[in-house]
Amino acid sequence: MNAMDRSRRSALSRRGLFRVAAAATVSGLLAACRGQQATPTPVTAPSPTPGTAATPTPAAARTPAPTVVGTGSPVTYTLENPPQVFNADRARQYSGAKLTYYGDSVGIGAELDQALAGAFQEATGIQITVVPHPPSATETYAVYQRFFAAQSPDIDVMMIDVIWPGAFAPHLLDLSSALSEEARQHYETIIENNTVDGRLVCMPWFGDFGMLYYRTDLLEKYGFTAPPQTWDELEEQARTIIEGERGANPNFTGFVFQGNAYEGLTCDALEWLASTGGGRFIENGQVTINNPQAVAMLNRVRGWVGTIAPPGVTTYQEEESRQVFQGGNAAFMRNWPYAYALGNAQDSPIRGKFDVAPLPATPPNPHVGTVGGWQLGVSRYSRAPEAAVEFVRYMTSPEVQTYRAVVGSFVPTIPDVSTRPEVLAVMPFLETLKDVVRVTRPSRETGERYNEVSTVIFQSVNQILNGADAAQVLPQAEQRLRRIIGS
């Protein structure tokens, strides 16, 4: 993702996420209490953590018997009470090792990191220094690059964006032997994305995918019974709603997405092409961006700009589109899951008036969503690789993913976790969107040249949105991509 978006959206979104998370936590606790009265739960006290010792919350104190999830280890869903370190016995043999972990930069993500690292340290004696990575993904990329160029042992475990495994693979430890069992629990596409030349270079940690937000109240008002299944339906519904709403609100628009020339547009374009038979830019080492379906779809999207989409959409990133949609000025939006919690925040004008659906597709092509999200990797230059692997094992486990989903609204990368009721209570869309095909950007096969590849793609698509003919632009893009990947 580009320099600004990830940081901005996390900063802006965290408050909202936290609010939702807090609500979920309370209901989770209530459920726990009720459960306890009905059937006695096994009396395994949660392992004491630095968090609980320092700041015991009244809620946690009042519920001695926590909810039982998955493996049977007891977990209460509060920030201060991270899941038990199930691999503590195995990890304790590396007690005394020192790890530096580049974790989440701000907000709830950083707090969760502190709590989890604290619990792990307490249980295993492995010392963990949590360093927040720079808020911008581009900056973080540059920081890692410098560490790796110097083969520095000063970084052991780090967050890896979903598009980086290809670029950083030579510097990351192969986790396939140590974590093969665990890897099987995660979504296959993400594991595939993180596997470079047969080496599993990082473990999925939390996910992201593109989805369609729509206004339930407006669809109902104009007599549409279901969200659009195809792009034709989206155009039709958007036109009808705009026609009806423009009188009252001259700023009203149909569909907003990410049209700015940056990484986000590559994600959107991938969905447009993959959902209409236009391919995935680069497949099996071949550049496939220039094909009739891709030309047709991109010219179609160009036609949206200034009609069903605002003329300024070619400058929008995630936050601009969210502001328009959340302000009640659009019927549809393509965005990541983070906008869900924000849209339902107390002060949101569209609270309770929207829902999410899979992005439209042209049959027989499937509904797709571009995969985003973060992984955890271990540096090859680490002085304590075994201890680092144990830390990753704990951090990416179903227990921790459940905890992070409930407390922080982080989308799990494990299908089993996605279907747990306490997770669905926070993110109900995980159920409705579970059949969406998750498509990945061609980052693995293009490796360290991915940024150049993506830049060619988003610059070309942006040119088309600004009025150029796709039939002219795509052949040039094809040539430039060929030169970069050398095929």
């Binding site: 580009n2 160029a149 020339a261 000025n329 830049t455 610059q459």
Partner: protein
């Protein structure tokens, strides 16, 4: 120096038996001492300016990539050959030069006007001088973000005003349309840096002696004539400083463009293009070649300014 100091040195030397220390005369020793005192400063300049510059020039002849494991190769002028045929680079040069010419002229004209106004005596002048610096004091990244919202096509204040005045039917997407994108970013830069130019010119205005104007008034020169023959010529050093500073700044414009447009191809400046190649693409070799060309283009501007202003001063 030689004529005045040598006799004293020899006179002193005659009084003291050892007339030479380490085979050096006093003048030589003084020169050495001078260099010794200069040494720390020189080392700093070499360390922070010359070494990186030389390194950049060296990299520009290689295929160095950031964080790559393979060895770096010397590839001669290959980067430059490619650069000269690179449409994106030439578009970036066009954007940057156009941006520089328009903004520097506008900032100079407006800055001079403002400087003349705040140089005259009126109530609240001190407050005025402080207030006019506000746009310049706001970090560019913040003010760019603020303008981005004002330009917004849905809820931007400009569209709202124009609509209320009945001047437009449809909202204008200022930053999206290629025809308005560059003027929009020029407006931001002019808003932001005119106060800086005004401040430099104001400093120049304040050192012009009041008596000159009094004499000119006695001689019956009009205000316009006074401006042309007294103010402008005496302001020339300040003008030179202002123009050179502003042009150099504008030629390496980065932050406003980066915040507003990112890597959008038709609004990239030279600096954005260089940054994109080095940081995002890890292509240090190519990025260095771009940086060297930026350096040369800026050097051309500086030489042009310095010579033209000096020639005018002599004629």
């Amino acid at each position: 120096m030689d004529t005045t100091e040598r006799p004293i040195a020899t006179a002193t030397a005659r009084a003291i038996p050892r007339r030479r220390i380490g085979g050096m005369t006093l003048a030589e020793r003084q020169a050495w001492t001078g260099w010794l005192f200069l040494l720390p400063a020189l080392l700093v300049v070499i360390g922070v300016a010359m070494v990186p510059l030389a390194q950049t020039v060296y990299y520009s002849f290689t295929d160095k990539r950031l964080g790559a494991l393979q060895a770096t190769n010397w590839i001669g002028f290959e980067n430059y050959r490619f650069l000269l045929r690179d449409n994106l680079w030439w578009s970036a040069v066009r954007v940057t030069v156009l941006f520089t010419v328009v903004t520097v002229i506008a900032e100079f004209a407006l800055g001079l006007l403002i400087a003349l106004v705040v140089n005259s005596r009126f109530r609240g002048r001190g407050l005025m001088r402080a207030a006019m610096l506000v746009p310049w004091a706001i970090p560019t990244v913040l003010s760019a973000q603020m303008w981005k919202w004002m330009y917004n096509d849905i809820f931007g204040v400009f569209n709202d005003m124009l609509r209320r005045l009945g001047l437009i039917e449809q909202n204008i997407a200022w930053l999206a349309k290629p025809s308005t994108a560059l003027p929009a970013v020029m407006a931001i830069d002019i808003w932001k840096t005119t106060p800086f130019v005004a401040l430099l010119l104001l400093a120049g205005l304040q050192v012009i002696p009041e008596e000159l104007y009094e004499a000119a008034t006695v001689d019956g020169a009009s205000r316009i004539r006074q401006f042309l023959v007294i103010t402008l010529p005496l302001l020339r050093p300040a003008i030179a400083v202002a123009l050179i500073f502003r042009s150099l700044d504008a030629l390496r414009a980065f932050d406003v463009f980066y915040v507003l447009f990112g890597a959008r191809p038709d609004t990239q400046t030279m600096a954005v293009y260089a940054q994109n190649n080095i940081v995002a693409f890890s292509d240090v070799g190519y990025g260095s070649a771009i940086s060297v060309l930026i350096f040369l283009i800026i050097a051309i501007f500086v030489v042009a300014y310095v010579t033209s202003l000096r020639v005018e001063a002599e004629s």
